[in-house]
Symmetry: C2
Subunit: 261 residues, 2 copies
């Protein structure tokens, strides 16, 4: 087990329990207490936690893990979904992306696809996003033009929200909006956990000519706190092959074009 994996594990325990104990974790991970202390000191220097005698307590990140850790869940499905979604976007498109692990994959896929069919040195795709991690990852790839919506940053999701973001979004138009959602229901529509995110996503969808929702099958058929939009506002859903046929049919009945990657 490498140090990065240990750090992820420590932060996962911290997110779950709110605290870690040196000896307990050392036994659980099969390393010495000295190593755990060094790890905790390291993370403490990065302001990721607060050191206590005998362990550490949650400091900066209390509810959520860095995206890096979450990316591990359903990774192959997300990757396939993302590739399929990116394939729907034509060269030259202006694409809105919100935050989340799946949309981050879409961004990566888009960037590597743009690598292949770049034309004349000009960026062939414009990505408009409110997700800091996506912007940060794509900004070094010269093939994609990156536009960032302003706003207040949410530590949990790296998303920018708020009135400032609204203002910017109202000034631009999108060809496509590719939205990752927390839940998607044939009757209820698309949902996010956070009302601020939902608001931005709703606005992004309304500014776009075509709305594509990406969601692995575990998200289908449920609801979450804040509604983004009804299914009538969604043009295409990209999901994986594990989605139940009956659920897929209900989305199709609701007028959504379903793609199973």
């Amino acid at each position: 087990m490498s140090s990065h994996e240990r750090w992820n594990e420590l932060l996962a325990i911290l997110a779950r329990d709110g605290k870690v104990e040196v000896d307990a974790v050392a036994a659980e991970l099969g390393v010495s207490a000295a190593t755990i202390r060094r790890d905790l000191d390291h993370l403490s220097r990065q302001q990721m936690l607060t050191r206590t005698r005998g362990g550490a307590v949650a400091g900066a990140i209390s509810y959520d893990l860095p995206l890096q850790y979450k990316a591990a869940r359903h990774a192959p499905e997300k990757h396939r979904i993302a590739t399929a979604a990116a394939a729907l976007l034509p060269p030259g498109a202006i694409v809105g992306l919100n935050g989340g692990t799946t949309t981050t994959e879409v961004a990566r896929s888009l960037a590597s696809r743009a690598d292949l069919d770049r034309q004349g040195g000009e960026p062939s795709v414009t990505v408009v996003t409110n997700a800091l991690n996506i912007a940060n990852e794509l900004v070094v790839r010269r093939h994609v033009k990156i536009v960032v919506i302003g706003g207040v940053a949410l530590p949990e999701s790296y998303e920018l929200i708020g009135p400032l973001a609204d203002g910017v979004l109202r000034e631009i138009s999108l060809d496509f909006a590719v939205l990752g959602v927390d839940a998607l229901d044939p009757e209820g529509g698309a949902f996010a956990h956070h009302e601020g995110e939902a608001g931005i996503n709703r606005l992004m969808a309304s500014r776009a000519g075509r709305v594509i929702v990406v969601a692995d099958s575990s998200k289908l058929g449920g609801r979450a706190f804040a509604r983004i939009c009804p299914c009538s506002a969604i043009d295409t859903l990209v999901t994986d092959r594990d989605a139940p046929a009956e659920t897929v049919q209900r989305f199709r009945d609701a007028g959504v074009d379903v793609v199973q990657a």
Copy 2:
């Protein structure tokens, strides 16, 4: 197998597993570990992955702050300047930060200043920035509230510029603007290499109650392409002790309060 094929393979493994291990991949692809290391270093320079001991992990999120200690030139000076500049900012301040290595150090210093620790759960400092790297680094640390100006991202500097950024900036006021500059002249004022950056920096300065310029001594006394503002618009200059006394005096004569860290 060509190097391009290997890179694709490495990135594919990274997308699937979230990490790669040097020895495992070397065996799988039938090349030496040295080659894999060189490949990973190469991809790491392209920001496609983050190098770890024994392999690499996906994504831009790292638990390290390598720049703080490895930032190429004038690192100790920049660090001292940044600490001194951050010390000028009182709790509760709304602070504008532009991009650059020195301002990134200021951001880190702000994030770890103990007396600014959040009081009553609320972050006690608000950072307004157009630099993606600063926003991305600070967003996980809850000590500061992060507001990002929108705009088009410049790959060279990670800065957001353009009309969208202008629009957001016009809607807010700052207590302080902390600006890193490319050149600073007692008569000419502050300069940036890029006219887009200069425009945003100028606007940021005009929205701030107090303008603090951070610049190591190598930047003093020269000029660059695009002017940000005259010295009359600058309240404080924070620089290092290597600044020539005569130059410092000329800044003081121009009405700038000079701090040498």
